[in-house]
């Protein structure tokens, strides 16, 4: 049992660190379906896993200049505002339609990303005055390409709007914000894929930390489940952050699209099944 949780968590940590996701998509079904743990402990453990994925990889990503702290922190404003909105309208919206609408949105994004499968770097992007005002720009050394990659963001307003939506969604349902964050930065703001996933990786930890207190107070963070998950995910995320630098942006996108499609289908199915 203990080693099954540990092993599964290492895998979730590696995947989460490379794709900028929290790994809740892997952790919750694995703990409930494979190990038959109560759902509340699975969700409590997945919140801990998100923070572990983020913190375990962020040290390396920030040092290597992959994470853009400025973009991450500024967008975090939209996410936290969204989360507050989500929490306050929770009684008014039907989760069923929310799952279906967001599922369709993700499915559409998966198709949109297919067209950009071969695109290694975004290249020249349209000028956005807001990006210039907020200094959404940076440069990192790409280990796979062996060159320095300067980049700058565009589409700050649509990107910010997507972040707000991501916040609403995670405030209402407690999941899925990593996917939306990567999408907002990759599709709307046209940042290099590696910058998108590592900045998302930094952000999800901050978002999850804000709600972790609630889960802890409710007693959903069971030490015997959360401890192996935390240790496993931390070591997995550390490993993942070593691997990610070597990968090509196109490879990361190729790994991202099937995960996106799977989650989209899962959400739509869940929405239809809800009473």
């Amino acid at each position: 049992m203990f080693f099954a949780i540990l092993f599964m968590s290492v895998a979730a940590g590696v995947g989460g660190a490379i794709l900028g996701l929290g790994g809740g998509i892997i952790i919750v079904p694995a703990l409930t379906l494979l190990l038959h743990l109560p759902i509340r402990y699975a969700i409590g453990a997945s919140i801990v896993a998100v923070i572990a994925t983020s913190s375990g990889a962020a040290a390396a990503y920030i040092r290597d200049r992959l994470t853009n702290l400025r973009i991450g922190i500024a967008l975090e404003v939209m996410t936290t505002l969204g989360a507050l909105t989500g929490a306050s309208v929770a009684g008014w919206v039907s989760p069923r339609w929310l799952y279906i609408v967001f599922g369709l949105l993700l499915a559409y994004s998966a198709f949109a990303l297919l067209g950009r499968l071969q695109m290694e770097l975004p290249g020249e992007v349209p000028y956005d005055p807001l990006a210039a005002r907020l200094r959404f720009t940076g440069e990192y050394y790409d280990q796979a390409l062996g060159q320095r990659v300067p980049y700058t963001a565009t589409g700050v307003i649509p990107g910010g709007a997507m972040m707000y939506l991501a916040g609403i969604f995670s405030g209402l349902l407690g999941i899925g914000s990593g996917l939306f964050k990567v999408l907002a930065m990759d599709v709307a703001m046209r940042l290099p894929m590696k910058v998108s996933t590592s900045t998302s990786n930094f952000m999800i930890g901050v978002t999850a930390a804000a709600s972790a207190g609630v889960y802890f107070a409710r007693g959903d963070v069971h030490p015997l489940v959360a401890a192996p998950v935390a240790l496993g995910v931390l070591s997995g995320a550390w490993l993942g952050s070593r691997i990610m630098g070597q990968l090509r942006n196109t490879t990361i996108r190729k790994l991202f699209i099937p995960v996106l499609a799977l989650v989209a289908v899962g959400m739509i199915v869940r929405g239809i099944q809800l009473p």
């Binding site: 913190s55 400025r70 507050l84 709600s211």
Partner: protein, 145 residues
């Protein structure tokens, strides 16, 4: 015609490349993670000593609908002396949860030191949101323990 990058580099202040801040934030994250992992490992070690290897094989208590009574900072700290394995593990997990908050707080201070008021404001807002989350969570507010 100049490119967008040129335009932005021209706007950018010379001291913009905040290498020191990156180093500090990165180091804080690394130490926070290593420290919390060590505390969690000590908790697991205590469990091995007090309960024996069977605690790792079966984990029967999780399947039962019983809940953990360690739901607040005060409850966890109270069980640390003498060290209760589950409380030590929880202390490690709480340290992990606190790591992103410390990172954001440090970033706010770094932006203030660089006199980057726009980003100091933005970061302080995010930090305040985090604190609000912790306060709502009851990890700080007594009563549930």
């Amino acid at each position: 015609m100049r490119t967008q990058l040129d335009a932005i580099h021209a706007v950018r202040a010379p001291a913009d490349d905040n290498g020191t801040m990156r180093a500090v934030v990165s180091a804080l994250l690394r130490y926070g993670v290593v420290f919390s992992a060590l505390v969690t490992l000590v908790g697991l070690g205590l469990l091995l000593v007090q309960v024996g290897p069977k605690a790792f094989v079966s984990m029967p208590s999780i399947r039962a609908p019983e809940t953990t009574d360690l739901t607040s900072l005060r409850a966890v700290l109270g069980e640390l002396v003498p060290p209760e394995p589950e409380a030590v593990m929880d202390a490690g997990i709480l340290l992990l949860i606190a790591t992103p908050a410390v990172t954001v707080g440090t970033a706010a201070i770094s932006f203030a030191l660089e006199k980057d008021w726009l980003y100091m404001g933005i970061t302080t807002f995010v930090f305040a949101m985090l604190m609000l989350g912790f306060a709502i969570g009851g990890g700080i507010i007594p009563g549930k323990s």
